[in-house]
Amino acid sequence: MHVVVCMKQVPSSEARIAVSADGRTIDRTGLEMVINPYDEYAIEEALRVREKFGGSVTVLSLGAGKVEEALRTCLAMGADSALILKEEALTGSDSHGTAQILASAIRPLGADLILFGKISIDVENHATGVAVAEILGLPHVSVATKIDWTDERHLKVHREIEGATELVEVELPAVLTANKGLNEPRYPSLPGIMKAKKKPIEELTAAGLAIDLAAHGAAGSQLEIAKLVPPPARTAGQVFKGEARESVLAVLKGLREERKLV
């Protein structure tokens, strides 16, 4: 069983985000970068699949910044090998372009199972994994919270929807996107970290994958970021510190009379 996990490095959810002077990008100075939290569930699931059926786990990332560090963490968790496509010209691709690039990189790998996080917490597109499945002509299940294996080629995936769960029967090869709740990602062990230093991180090239650089990246994308702004400011309102019932009544009065709520 060959499991491929697509991983993206993103600013930590605890990070403050500042818009750059150009009004279109963020200031990356000193920004703490982490593995996209939903991709951690994908990596953990891949390791569990290998523990169950044997085989190997490959982590794939489109490179920018310090993505090797994140790949090294994936290797320390237990992944067998890592692939990185580091082409300056590809940064700034929109979700469709990113999906095409990833599909080009995945196609030669002979993957049985391809895992993504359900969303990357930076651009919040909810789109890449599903688009890759379509480009590769594979079935997919998004927002997986539980996987029951019938046999090595057939699985039942619990997919979270609003207020219910869809039980989806899938045949491999397929694409799954992982949700919180799927598993509890492991921490890299000390021996894992030592072993990871010797594991390969192979560098892919656009030329090697026959990717047309002009058709991708910020310049080739069908979508552009025209403007980036901080969220609308909110100012602190009234704070009541007195006796409990008096405070409650004061807030309710405000909600009813000023806000026309409740």
Partner: protein, 326 residues
């Protein structure tokens, strides 16, 4: 210019977000046609409801084999509706179904997808742009589609106003079919499991009451449920409460949960971590209850109460019940 709206239904019912998309479609195509694509089984008067909210032509596939959502099967049908209506914009709801369907549809047709739109505009030159949240609500991006041609957009529930139904509107219903998709057999919904607890739909909720670490244990979410119940609202939670295992992650509000924008958000025992604040700061009105007067949540709240939530929340619930019954 025409617009096609995918109209998600389950059990013959539409969510508010379907109507919101129809309202948006009408605004984007004041002189054009609004098409809707309706897929399911036993759809009864669903098409009429879409016409009343703004659709001119409903492409309807009503078949027992379509009772369960199927990504590949539904994609083929939306593609068929797209080919026969030739719209400039295809709108989906940014729901579990729309987020699953839109990327597959866009990749199949080869049109750009603008995901998770909060507003959509068409400039005088015909270019489509949309505003969306990025970094969990810590910034907002305006995405612009280059060139002309069709675009697919998923629209966040609650982002656009819902049009009132007009039963006097007229429109037509045309049957829709597509060839069987081989992929649809390789991933298919076998059954639907209803949640054991309360159904959660934070995106559609107009009022959300959330609990955090200040609740001290899972059993105390009963206080939050009572308050939410008195207001007819949904129950949310901070990441700390979810990670502690006190409540299911479906309830989590914030950058690694659901980004919400209800009319009223009440945060109980939540200090206000940056990723939580980002995920709820566009709410209409924010109320915070916390014992720590220096908690960051108070800087974002319209109304704050400093005090013990175990004393305050039951009083709040009681006073709301009193108000509602009088």
């Amino acid at each position: 210019m025409d617009v096609l709206v995918f109209a998600e239904q389950r059990d013959g019912k539409f969510k508010r977000s379907v109507h919101e998309c129809l309202g948006l479609a009408r605004r984007l195509a004041p002189d054009g046609k609004v098409h809707a694509v309706l897929i399911g089984s036993g759809l009864g008067d669903c098409a009429a409801a879409l016409i009343a909210r703004g659709a001119d032509r409903v492409h309807a596939a009503d078949h027992p084999g379509l009772s369960m959502y199927n990504s590949a099967g539904y994609t083929a049908l939306v593609e068929a509706a797209y080919r026969s209506s030739n719209p400039s914009i295809v709108l989906f709801q940014a729901t579990a179904m729309g987020r699953d369907l839109a990327p597959r549809f866009a990749a199949r047709i080869g049109v750009p997808l603008i995901p998770e739109a909060l507003s959509v505009e068409i400039a005088s030159d015909g270019s489509v742009s949309a505003v969306k949240s990025v970094y969990g609500g810590k910034a907002f991006a305006t995405l612009r589609a280059r060139g002309n041609g069709a675009r697919a957009v998923t629209v966040r529930p609650g982002a656009c106003p819902m049009p009132d139904p007009d039963p006097s509107r007229t429109g037509e219903v045309v049957p829709l079919s597509a060839q069987e998709e081989p992929l649809s057999l390789r991933a298919r919904v076998a059954s639907l499991l209803q949640s054991v607890g309360d159904a959660v739909d934070l995106q559609e909720a107009e009022i959300i009451v959330s609990g955090g670490r200040g609740l001290k244990g899972p059993e105390n979410f009963a206080l939050i449920k009572d308050l939410a119940g008195s207001l007819g609202g949904a129950v949310g939670a901070s990441r700390a409460a979810v990670d502690a295992g006190w409540i299911d992650h479906q309830h989590q509000v914030g950058q690694t949960g659901t980004t919400v924008s209800p009319k009223l958000y009440i945060a109980c025992g939540i200090s206000g971590a940056i990723q939580h604040l980002a995920g709820m700061r566009t709410s209409g009105c924010i109320v915070a209850i916390n014992k720590d007067p220096d908690a960051p949540i108070f800087k974002t709240a319209d109304y704050g109460i400093v005090g013990d939530l175990f004393e305050i929340v039951p009083i709040l619930t009681e006073e709301i019940r009193k108000m509602r019954s009088s």
